[in-house]
């Protein structure tokens, strides 16, 4: 006998009320990060030792600003989703867990704002 309400089945949100959104978000950001990380490794390997002006010229190109912003945002979202699961799994004190989850989100958000602002300043300076 099926005890579950058909509406709950149709919504497909499960007991945590968030469905597959976390799992799916982790995979989508992972897929996006494949090309972005290859680009980042290329930038670091080719430009890390170069003089400031060479790096500046590189980041003044719009395509590179766009890729840098996408990298920062995708990486921080992927990191926040991953850290969330690690904290859920290993931190067993409820108050500490809540504080850590909020701190991770705060750092990810602050990091995103800082990183995007830096890329914009770099592009227009």
């Amino acid at each position: 006998m099926k005890m579950r309400h058909p509406l709950a089945h149709a919504r497909g949100l499960g007991s945590a009320k968030s469905g597959t959104s976390h799992w799916w978000g982790q995979r989508v950001t992972a897929l996006l990060l494949i090309p972005l990380v290859i680009w980042m490794l290329y930038v670091v390997i080719v430009y890390a030792g170069q003089p400031f002006q060479v790096i500046q010229t590189f980041f003044r190109q719009t395509i590179n600003s766009i890729l840098a912003i996408l990298l920062v945002l995708t990486m921080l979202r992927h990191a926040q989703l991953g850290m969330q699961v690690v904290i859920e799994d290993y931190v067993h004190s409820q108050p500490l867990e809540t504080i850590l989850q909020l701190l991770v989100k705060l750092f990810a958000f602050a990091g995103a704002v800082t990183g995007v602002l830096a890329v914009i300043r770099l592009a227009v300076q």
Partner: protein, 138 residues
């Protein structure tokens, strides 16, 4: 001591993430799995921090940038960069391994062990090549 560990009290059974060790034999699959998490946490904390630090340093102009980069060529700085380098490659290759698993492929034990060796050797070789290239030894 050994018998105590092998027969945990009825109400003090180990919880799954802490099974590796006295209760469960370490295997390639479990070690790579926990290493994926460990590298993910390491990259989340130090990797994203250093990426944003680099972008902010660049946005401050030539002199500030040069000053901000100085500590990275010290011994602790270079150790951090080398560890980050290996962590990135490992998490990258093993992440692709996980994405392939998510499609239902390569899940047989022999296949998983083979891809584990591939991930480990791939990240080691890529790290050595990257460090050699950036260090200018190639």
């Amino acid at each position: 001591m050994a018998t105590e560990k092998n027969t945990p009290e009825r109400h003090q059974r180990p919880i799954s993430p802490f099974m590796i060790g006295p209760y469960y034999k370490p295997q390639l699959s479990s070690i790579l799995s926990i290493a994926h998490r460990a590298s993910g946490v390491f990259l989340s904390v130090f990797g994203s921090a250093l990426l944003i630090y680099w972008l902010v340093a660049l946005s401050q102009g030539a002199q500030a940038y040069q000053a901000a980069m100085l500590w990275l060529v010290s011994i602790p700085g270079m150790l951090l960069l080398a560890t980050l380098c290996f962590a990135i490659y490992y998490h990258f290759f093993n992440g692709i391994r996980h994405l392939i698993w998510d499609t239902g492929r390569m899940l047989k034990i022999e296949q998983a062990n083979r891809s584990a060796i591939f991930v480990l050797s791939g990240s080691f070789i890529a790290s050595v090549l990257t460090i050699a290239t950036v260090g200018g030894w190639l």
